[in-house]
């Protein structure tokens, strides 16, 4: 079996592909490094020269203006040159293979690829290919692959939790929603267990839970009020419309009634519990406007923190030793 492709020959972080298997001290270091980067955003000149002259290619095989924009801002604040590629994928329009595209861009002196792809494992394929073809100076950041991982989102959520709650080892955290299809949830779960969260809960109807979810370290609740009782952190997941068509759920209304985050459901959590959401929100489906705009929601700070965390990740990878 291949060596963990996130690490180079010396065991240092070469790519960021997933939070799974990232040692606790690496995660902590990323969060620590993100703090000064958060300060940069408050200055007159919101830039530092770390990645000056480097080319960061945003390779988005799956559309996402939000995520692509935050990576672009983060890269530009590091003074990097950013090139955006939105490669449309349709079964009738395959065109160039994934690896051919990567080879072409590498030939254009790319230093870093930020990759979003609809298939789980695509960034691994790219990282392994780069290594096999002797181009280990090019770093890969996974911006979301299929249902597998979205590590920067997981990390910025950890940063957010740490900002408001400080000590992970005392927390009770609930993740609510379509965990089966969520790469964000998987990245959160791995990071939370690594950081030592003692009580991690997964709240969802059975049709939206992965087989063997307990083995990933979660306690399952099908009743939201039970699941939210006494928690410190509520992490909401986005529900996609396709799930209604896919015979997984009957309707958005029923989902909202039983699994949507409303003020009265939130009331069973701790009074100072915080509410996170990766965005964009479906108001009235997984979250009520009153909560989304309420005092416990930290959804907008998540966006700001997200830029700092992505700056930290890119700066750590692109340096001589990460």
């Amino acid at each position: 079996m291949a060596r963990n492709p996130q690490l180079n020959k010396h065991g240092e972080l070469q790519h960021l592909l997933t939070t799974e298997g990232l040692p606790r001290d690496v995660i902590t270091r990323i969060l620590d490094t993100a703090e000064p980067f958060a300060g940069v955003a408050e200055r007159e000149v919101k830039k530092v020269p770390l990645l000056r002259g480097k080319s960061v290619f945003n390779l988005f095989f799956e559309n996402s203006t939000r995520t692509r924009t935050t990576f672009e801002i983060a890269a530009k604040r590091l003074s990097a040159d950013v090139i955006n590629l939105n490669i449309a994928t349709s079964s009738t329009n395959k065109g160039e293979t994934l690896l051919d595209t990567v080879d072409n861009l590498a030939a254009m002196q790319a230093d870093m690829f930020v990759v979003r792809h609809a298939s789980s494992g695509a960034p691994y394929l790219i990282a392994q290919h780069l290594e096999a073809t002797g181009r280990d100076h090019i770093h890969v950041v996974n911006a979301g692959d299929g249902r597998h991982a979205h590590p920067t989102q997981g990390l910025l959520d950890m940063y957010t939790i740490r900002h408001y709650k400080r000590d992970f080892t005392q927390l009770s955290v609930a993740i609510v929603g379509d965990i089966l299809h969520s790469r964000v949830a998987r990245s959160q779960i791995h990071a939370l267990t690594t950081l030592g969260v003692p009580d991690l809960r997964a709240i969802a109807p059975k049709t939206l839970l992965p087989h063997d979810i307990e083995r990933l370290g979660c306690r399952v609740y099908n009743d939201m009020r039970e699941g939210l009782r006494g928690v410190d952190v509520v992490m909401m997941l986005r529900l996609q419309n396709e799930r209604m068509q896919g015979s997984l759920l009957p309707s958005a209304q029923e989902y909202f009634k039983f699994f949507g985050l409303t003020e009265d459901k939130l009331a069973v959590a701790k009074p100072d519990a915080i509410v996170l959401h990766p965005g964009p929100m479906n108001r009235g489906v997984e979250i009520d406007s009153a909560v989304a705009d309420g005092r416990q929601a930290v959804i907008l700070p998540q966006v700001t923190f997200g830029i700092a965390v992505r700056m930290a990740v890119m700066a750590m990878l692109a340096g001589g030793n990460a």
């Binding site: 291949a2 492709p5 298939s119 290919h129 597998h148 790469r183």
Partner: protein, 428 residues
């Protein structure tokens, strides 16, 4: 041509022989074992000292990719790979392009194989036209053209009414129907075994239920129609238990397992290795253990390579997009020997699964070295390691998770109908 295979250890499971025995061949048949017949003068003596002399191996399922899929493999390359792996007879499934649902196509395939004069090729005819699960094929004509059984390869039949009638029709003639048990709806979109590994990797899972539900359905249809059923590529412990129960209830059914399922499980997918993308998927460790044990004690009748050559491009894509399948003809013997070694099974038992037992499943008078039978022989060194590499593989398919590995079982020579069709290059 008269051939004397001298000094070898003859292992013939069909005759329960495992002893140093010379083999004498003339006119394409085995004419004597042990002592030469009177007046026998060999044209050629093959020195088999230190080697095992066994019946030529029989592979229950190997895709030759002809007609139509020549960019993946050709008859020439694959049959050459077969004999290099000691395989002298193989059955090929009907999922070619076009599908083997016309007698003319079958005749052409058989003709091409005969012209190559290497291994014996036994096609399986399509159970339904185009494998689409809608209309029956002319099973009688296809049988006369050379099909020894009828199969849907790994394409499920959606309409149970059609499946019922197809099995009923096959039962009319006493033909065996080979089905790979998969419920197409439960398996829809799935690319890996539904379990912890798929959950971590974010891959759509195929639950064991997809196999057990289909097995239950197929067993009942077979019972109701009186059709002879063979369940292909069992992948789960739960599936095995259903077959055990059916046999206890008096039902006749045979089944096979693919060789890679004896060695690999879902954990081997590792970091999304597309070489481990197979149909059916590699399941959990305990499934693998159950399959290994069941093949050892005979509850699984026989073993096949499930040889599926895939071109490199189709594997250098993300896992879910990769073409499923592994190359296997040249790995059948080494992987069988590796399994036997790990299970501490006598060679005779292990070899039975790829000779006499496989022949029985196919209904062929083959897989043995009885006097008067065809001289299909595999001479090999069970200890000598084989290094699996792109260069060493003769098949056009280089897609295997075993690249770079060393496995035991080097074929020294292969004979088909008394002709030497493969000989290993002389050792330095």
């Amino acid at each position: 041509m008269k051939i004397h295979i001298k000094g070898g250890r003859l292992i013939d499971p069909a005759q329960d022989i495992d002893a140093p025995t010379d083999v004498f061949i003339a006119a394409g048949k085995v004419v004597a074992l042990g002592a030469a017949p009177d007046g026998f003068h060999a044209n050629r003596v093959i020195d088999a000292s230190g080697l095992v002399v066994a019946p030529g191996l029989i592979d229950l399922c190997a895709r030759l990719r002809e007609p139509g899929l020549e960019y993946r493999a050709t008859l020439e390359s694959e049959v050459a790979a077969a004999v290099a792996g000691g395989v002298t007879s193989l059955a090929c499934p009907p999922d070619t392009d076009p599908v083997l649902d016309e007698p003319g196509l079958v005749e052409m395939l058989k003709h091409r194989a005969r012209m190559l004069n290497l291994a014996h090729v036994y096609p399986h005819g399509a159970l339904t036209a185009g494998l689409k699960g809608e209309r029956l094929t002319e099973m009688g004509e296809l049988h006369d053209a050379g099909c020894i059984a009828f199969s849907q390869a790994n394409v499920p039949v959606a309409d149970t009414q059609v499946l019922f009638r197809a099995m009923q029709y096959a039962a009319t003639f006493g033909y065996t129907v080979w089905l790979q048990p998969t419920d197409m709806h439960l398996a829809a979109g799935g690319v890996a075994h539904e379990g912890e590994v798929a959950a971590r990797l974010g891959l759509t899972g195929i639950p064991v239920l997809a196999e057990t539900l289909a097995i239950g359905q197929m067993l009942q249809l077979a019972r109701a129609t009186g059709c002879k059923l063979h369940l292909a590529r069992i992948s789960s412990r739960a599936g095995l238990m259903l077959i055990d129960q059916a046999r206890l209830d008096g039902m006749q059914v045979s089944c096979d397992v693919a060789i890679h399922a004896l060695h690999l499980c879902d954990v081997d997918i590792g970091y999304f290795d597309p070489q481990c993308r197979t149909v059916p998927p590699l399941r959990a460790q305990f499934d693998r253990e159950a399959l290994r044990a069941a093949l050892a004690d005979g509850r699984i009748d026989a073993l096949c390579s499930d040889h599926t050559p895939v071109d490199d491009d189709a594997k250098q894509v993300p896992f879910a997009e990769a073409e499923p399948g592994t190359t296997g003809l040249e790995l059948l013997l080494p992987l069988t020997l590796a399994w036997a070694r790990e299970m501490r099974l006598p060679l005779k038992v292990a070899l039975a699964r790829i000779t006499a037992d496989a022949a029985r499943v196919l209904g062929l008078n083959a897989g043995h070295l009885r006097v008067g039978g065809a001289a299909d022989v595999c001479i090999f060194d069970p200890e000598a390691p084989v290094r699996i590499s792109r260069e060493s593989l003769r098949s056009q398919g280089k897609n295997t998770p075993y690249l770079g590995r060393e496995l035991p079982g080097r074929v020294s020579a292969t004979l088909v109908s008394g002709q030497v069709v493969y000989e290993a290059p002389a050792r330095h």
